[in-house]
């Protein structure tokens, strides 16, 4: 499947998350949206956590978000990260509401702060997996 060598963890794509990763591959950031009650949630689940409806669809997000928190990994829990230490991970709140884990592409900005406005960018990890990351707006 993957033409290029990628030695970091790839998503485990299951029936709940399949749609999300298909959209991501096309560089579209989505959240799960309940057709019945309008609830927006992420990560995806098999039913709406609010009303339990099965009628879930993918809603394209604006790609705008705010920074909630960030950390710097000095330890490689996977071998593929050994040469990249330290690397960052962040927590962002999408304009649509859900909190998601991501990375600050290009590193942690010098003027980093909680509430910093961000926008999504996509990294093509393999031929089939693209990963949403964020940069300062």
């Amino acid at each position: 499947m993957t033409a290029r060598h990628y030695d970091k963890p790839l998503p485990v794509i299951d029936p709940d998350s399949k749609g999300y990763w298909e959209h991501a591959r096309r560089h579209r950031l989505t959240v799960q949206h309940c057709v019945a009650c309008g609830d927006k949630h992420f990560p995806p689940g098999p039913v709406c956590p609010s009303c339990l409806s099965d009628r879930q669809e993918w809603l394209q997000a604006s790609g705008k978000a705010t920074l909630v928190s960030w950390v710097n990994f000095h330890r490689a829990y996977w071998d593929g990260y050994r040469d990249e230490l330290p690397y960052n991970a962040c927590l962002v709140q999408l304009e649509e509401g859900p909190l998601v884990i991501s990375n600050l592409a290009g590193g942690i900005p010098e003027n980093v702060r909680m509430g910093m406005p961000l926008r999504v960018v996509f990294d093509d990890l393999t031929d089939v997996v693209s990963l949403p990351r964020f940069v300062p707006e």
Binding site: K8, P43, S69, W70, W78
Partner: protein, 376 residues
């Protein structure tokens, strides 16, 4: 009104047993647990065959445990090796004893994480956020502590007060794994793991086992040790916000507030009555979240609360007098509950809290539990 109020003082801890803590690659889970079980039986003077309730936590197979110990209980509880399960198991035992499902419950916990080189991240615990390189409970707590710093101005020097205090306690505890004291400055220079957290903010990973034997307060009178009563219980889970494992954007504050109301209300005590505090410390920031959530200080004030050795012996709130998970032993809450019992019995030697009458245990996690123990 806590609907569990009628359980106040109905159940007692009558026997506790702990093994040495360290690295025991030559032992099995069952072998270590058997040592703790024998120690707890000897502690309370109960004959083995009286045990008719068995709880196993982090032990691979409950039936093998029963086989090893020669037990055919009429109540069995099996829980995974998550820190929150200690308080949960003790609560379940209280309910079982009060309902008559068992007369004497032995709760057993074994951890061979050290010898097995458990990583607590990466391939050991696959999760949805792995593709972003985000993994491990420590990283989740680093995210939360960063938020605490940003929201309230809390500093890493304030955070350091917690591991510094617990290490001092460990130095007074013969069984503790890490006894070498360190200063706030040394904490500031320690190896970063997931910043803003450093090595000294992380719990240990070591081997060991714990056994706690409980029975009804009535039956407890006939046993060897003065009973330690379970006077308060509080419980609330937060699963709706649990999409990131071991993380909560509110630091479980609403749940801890709910638990505080339950546990203090049931025990009929307040913050000022707590002589010693046993606080689940998987990572140093959890202690801050616990102090705020239970109401020992206002929200956002925990950094200032812990300054100047407030958590040390002789301080405002002696906390984790055995050294906790940061310095004594990573027994996932079980050893902290044993320490509560030993403090109330007055068995703690150099680290004894004088006139200790009320001890509170808490684990602020996606399943927050608190227990208030009193002298029977």
């Amino acid at each position: 009104m806590n609907p569990m109020n009628r359980l106040k003082d109905k159940v007692a801890v009558v026997g506790v047993g702990t093994t040495s803590y360290g690295s025991f690659p030559e032992m099995t889970d069952y072998g270590l647990a058997a040592q703790a079980f024998k120690a707890a039986l000897a502690d309370c003077g109960l004959a083995k065959d009286r045990i008719d309730g068995l709880g196993t936590c982090r032990i691979p197979y409950y039936a093998r445990m029963g086989e090893v110990l020669g037990l055919d209980p009429r109540w069995t509880l099996h829980t995974p090796g998550h820190g929150r399960m200690s308080g949960m198991s003790i609560m379940e035992a209280v309910l079982a004893l009060e309902a008559g499902a068992a007369d004497y419950v032995a709760l057993l916990y074994t951890n061979i994480g050290r010898s097995r080189r458990v990583n607590y991240g990466g391939e050991d615990s696959a999760g949805f956020w792995d593709p972003w390189g985000f993994t491990s409970p420590g990283a989740a707590h680093a995210l939360m502590f960063r938020m605490h710093m940003e929201r309230y101005g809390t500093t890493t020097r304030q955070l350091a007060e917690i591991p510094v205090a617990f290490r001092r306690h460990a130095a007074l505890h013969p069984d503790a794994v890490m006894k070498e004291p360190f200063t706030i400055e040394q904490h500031e220079r320690a190896r970063p793991i997931v910043e803003p957290l450093r090595l000294l903010d992380y719990c240990l990973i070591n081997d060991g086992a714990v056994c706690i034997i409980l029975t009804t307060a009535e039956r407890a009178r006939d046993l060897r040790q003065p009973p330690v009563l379970i006077s308060g219980l509080g419980a609330r889970d937060a699963f709706r916000r649990s999409a990131i494992a071991n993380f909560d954007p509110e630091f479980w504050y609403p749940e801890a507030q709910d638990v505080a109301q339950q546990v203090y209300g049931m025990a009929g005590v307040g913050h000022g009555d707590i002589d010693a505090f046993m606080c689940y410390d998987n990572f140093a920031p959890t202690v801050l979240f616990s102090l705020e959530g239970l109401g020992f200080c206002e929200r956002g004030e925990s950094g200032r609360f812990v300054e100047d050795g407030a958590l040390g012996l002789g301080g405002r709130l002696p906390t984790n007098t055995d050294g906790g998970h940061l310095s004594n032993s990573y027994m996932q809450g079980w050893a902290l509950n044993v320490e509560a019992v030993r403090q109330l019995r007055g068995e703690c030697g150099d680290r004894q809290v004088p006139n200790c009458e009320v001890v509170q245990y808490v684990a602020v996690t996606p399943c927050t539990r608190s227990i208030i123990y009193t002298r029977g």
